[in-house]
Assembly symmetry: D2
Homo-oligomer: 335 residues x 4
Amino acid sequence: MRAYQIPAGATSVDALQQVELPEPKPGPGQVKLRVRATSLNFRDQAVIRGKYFGGPVEKPQVPLSDGAGEVVAVGPDVTRFKVGDRAAGIFTPAWASGPFPGSYVALGAQGAPGVLAEYLVLSENAFVHIPPSLSFEEAATLPCAGVTAWNALTVGKQVKAGDIVLTLGTGGVSILALQLAQAAGARVVITSSSDEKLARAKALGASIGINYKSTPEWGKAVTEATGGHGADIVVETGGPGTLPQSMAALALNGAISLLGVLTEGTIAPMPLMIKSGTLRGLMVGSRAQFEDLNTAIEANKIKPVIDKVFPFEQALEAYKYQTAGQLFGKLVITV
Amino acid sequence: MRAYQIPAGATSVDALQQVELPEPKPGPGQVKLRVRATSLNFRDQAVIRGKYFGGPVEKPQVPLSDGAGEVVAVGPDVTRFKVGDRAAGIFTPAWASGPFPGSYVALGAQGAPGVLAEYLVLSENAFVHIPPSLSFEEAATLPCAGVTAWNALTVGKQVKAGDIVLTLGTGGVSILALQLAQAAGARVVITSSSDEKLARAKALGASIGINYKSTPEWGKAVTEATGGHGADIVVETGGPGTLPQSMAALALNGAISLLGVLTEGTIAPMPLMIKSGTLRGLMVGSRAQFEDLNTAIEANKIKPVIDKVFPFEQALEAYKYQTAGQLFGKLVITV
Amino acid sequence: MRAYQIPAGATSVDALQQVELPEPKPGPGQVKLRVRATSLNFRDQAVIRGKYFGGPVEKPQVPLSDGAGEVVAVGPDVTRFKVGDRAAGIFTPAWASGPFPGSYVALGAQGAPGVLAEYLVLSENAFVHIPPSLSFEEAATLPCAGVTAWNALTVGKQVKAGDIVLTLGTGGVSILALQLAQAAGARVVITSSSDEKLARAKALGASIGINYKSTPEWGKAVTEATGGHGADIVVETGGPGTLPQSMAALALNGAISLLGVLTEGTIAPMPLMIKSGTLRGLMVGSRAQFEDLNTAIEANKIKPVIDKVFPFEQALEAYKYQTAGQLFGKLVITV
Amino acid sequence: MRAYQIPAGATSVDALQQVELPEPKPGPGQVKLRVRATSLNFRDQAVIRGKYFGGPVEKPQVPLSDGAGEVVAVGPDVTRFKVGDRAAGIFTPAWASGPFPGSYVALGAQGAPGVLAEYLVLSENAFVHIPPSLSFEEAATLPCAGVTAWNALTVGKQVKAGDIVLTLGTGGVSILALQLAQAAGARVVITSSSDEKLARAKALGASIGINYKSTPEWGKAVTEATGGHGADIVVETGGPGTLPQSMAALALNGAISLLGVLTEGTIAPMPLMIKSGTLRGLMVGSRAQFEDLNTAIEANKIKPVIDKVFPFEQALEAYKYQTAGQLFGKLVITV
């Protein structure tokens, strides 16, 4: 089958190779997916650049965690899927339900299968059915970014109607968090360095847009723009660089969902005490959360926002486009 | 001031009397409200008919718990309100926040002030600011029915986007629960004996309407209409008469919020075990819940549905109309 | 291997047969346990009497869900266990973590493997490590009764130090709930028809014992004996027959954990409203809950109470002893 | 009445003055307490040194927030207390129940009454009944440190039997947290720079003691000493200086309760993500939490540990002793 691989030891996107690999076959309890669309996350940049957990990949690695397609074969004892079903793999194959089990193996890295290939074989427990109203391209945006946004909004302090939700920037997690929060009856404040993107975010349902370039003290601006209330939930995709302002924006008893796993730096935690606030780290989410996300998407007819779709042959261009800083939503590579 | 009173020992709505009472004055920490609109709840029928906790009222009682108006005077030490503020009283004056404190004294009964009068004086802690987008008539529908609907949807199992919420009938609690659940991204199933009312409920956002007259096994019908899933949350306003069908409608790990405080009867609890379900009793809610409700209403521009508005002089007609069985939403009496 | 079987269509304990069965072998991901001790639950009576879900067993069934032993072989790909580990099977093999997945297949019934045999082979995901401080006999009491008691005390309203916990009778669930609640800093009220058993329960840490024969209004007695507070959590093992008194005993905002899955009958739910109480049904629990239970047991050096140990040859006597009504704790059959 | 005062503008403990003040009288809804014992917190050092919120006190201030005594008079409309009751004031008079209301006014600072005086008059809502088994001296240790420890262990991630709880040092909050966690069935790890204090902590029920001087990487040591598990809950009384090690000690899905309100500094939040951990800021707690704490103390016969009792005349010596670094538990000043 056609696939892409990251060679062992790679430290740059230019190492990406298109290869021909043997077609995998489903064993007992396994499902074979014909991948139709995949999606890039910033984590995938880290993997190919050798900056992910543990450094450069040690063996040739099919990249990407997020893909959707149709089931073309099932192994013995499979009960949850049948040929013809539309499905997506889950980011952390070992995390079915409940709290994080400490399993750090995710698709597209550390020797786990990647989705940038024609076929993907995994245990049926590592797949979900995708929402009927979504295309393969749209569904491919969900396994990492979508589930992360859902986890950020529903675990710990669950978003409720009337809450103020703050999302940072217009990347895939932020935009889907905007859509989910708005569907849940919250008012959304979004930041960007671009007034044009803020306008697009408002068209998607954001109530307030703040340009963080022209308003460096945007934390205070969030509080003022919400009548002194601040953000009940912050979807913190920026990490230490943005956390001080996120804390300034936080409402009393508010919660910050911390997602920017790859960033380093330090913060002053004292505002959490003054506000009885919470800072919660998270790493994507479980299959049960993915299923709940899909239900919410279908019920509210949410359409994940795709910035650009690249054909399979232009995977490298997709990697490069992602870091050019113009993103609004997700990047998709079809297969 | 003009007011209505229920005479001591009353057991019928016809006992309602219009009277002239001394105008109350706010003491330290108290607020005086010029009541502009009030709203009827079924509990008010019980009070005037002598069937509320403890039987007929023992002393002349100004009726009704739900009213909205404007602040016309404040006593010393008041900090949360000023003259001119639009406000509503809370159902249980002693319940500010947290879980139910066991305080059964509520406005309009048991010797507590009632709102069917020109003025209402209470501690400032027993008032909330009303949503700017609502009229006095609309805001008057919230203290009992609105807070009950909010409590039913947000405590214990908090509604989330994609959930199935089942509301029973088209009374005030059910219709506001419909609106709140829909604003929270849930899909709403509603029951009624009238196809015409089901059509109106769908126009308000309900996804599925079931006529419980033509479909006596409506619990099973809810499950079927939701692809076998059932209701994640049931807003149970019917009591033992409807609980068996509500349990049949319940989803795995679902929750029934039990509100029909005045009904008696028995149920078989076994379905709760099979479904790992929860049955939770509740009595309206706290001031903090009322404030959250108001925030949710304002953020989502929800308009409480008023069936009919009666002028002050026709309060008795309002009581009688309420029990005629044609309700869709709330009844309001202006002052 | 030696084993017991319930013949197809059995409706009486006398149908129990000792048989010789082929020794099972572990496949990929599977673990083979040499069962050393098993334990009886009332559910096992229902299975052999043909009164469990779906009636009499349709195929010969090895009975019992609860057993402990040592790992004697592991199949390929097993990572959580090694030969020599001490382990127990979990009641619901498909329930690893999170809320109840709706899987009603449990060991010892409905065609699933039973533990009253020399060997048990299951997926490694269906086993837990047992607490080092427990014997096989003690550990064998936990999979159903122990996990049920843990679920009853920790999900929904989690027991906290100072709470009043009410347990009904002196069966296996009640006695372990007593021990767990006491270890969690709660005060335990226990009921029994025998003053002698109440004395034994107090020796185990119960604060208050109430003889439900001499005090038929024991719900009120619980409230009085706790200074008017009542029970924050009721471990309801009795079902509709005891629920009215359990509700009378319930504290404000209290929770009843409903476990008596096999009993029928009706209750009046109104007290739940007056008390803002919760009635939650549950069916044993997940592997994660079992692991937490084991951690709690080990940390607090809790010793499950065994009423009597029967040798393998006397399994039928164990079944008969269980229904003779003299239980205090659990019955064990060694293998 | 006899009292101590901090003069306006004070920046040193030596400014403390004994004075004679008019005896306060209870107004409507107020209670008058004859203070019998008070207790010092580190926050009180900040107040007298001019380092508390807002700098030096602006008006003469009676110091200390924590005191217990007996009710000697009640004003009109008081329902919760009667003369002769034993009671303690609450740290934040405006926080009765529910989440933190954003009220930063606490006893002994910012113009609020202080307890280092013969009498204390507050609204009855600002008092709790004290546990019958405690002396006034013991009860006086609870309003700030005790409620803080309770909040740290029960809100967000509530401690459960079998959990690992990490407490830092042997100050008042840490020692009471140790006692409460142990009563709740948790295993407690405690740190100190003194092996002698570690031995005393073990005598109180700590399972593991770690000398942070001889083991600078004590976070890793906690993980190792708990079989690789780490701390489910950290009672973080140290602030940024200890947080990096606390995070290293944190278990998967663990929670850090952040209490060291007065310390500044920065931390690297990334470990929270890797561990799906939570960092929660808190400021003492509500009256409802205080009442729950008292119930837990009484049920488990916990005796707060008092390092030293000073007579009223030696209040200054108490202030000085507190900062000498030899504390194990709380300091008390009798009145």
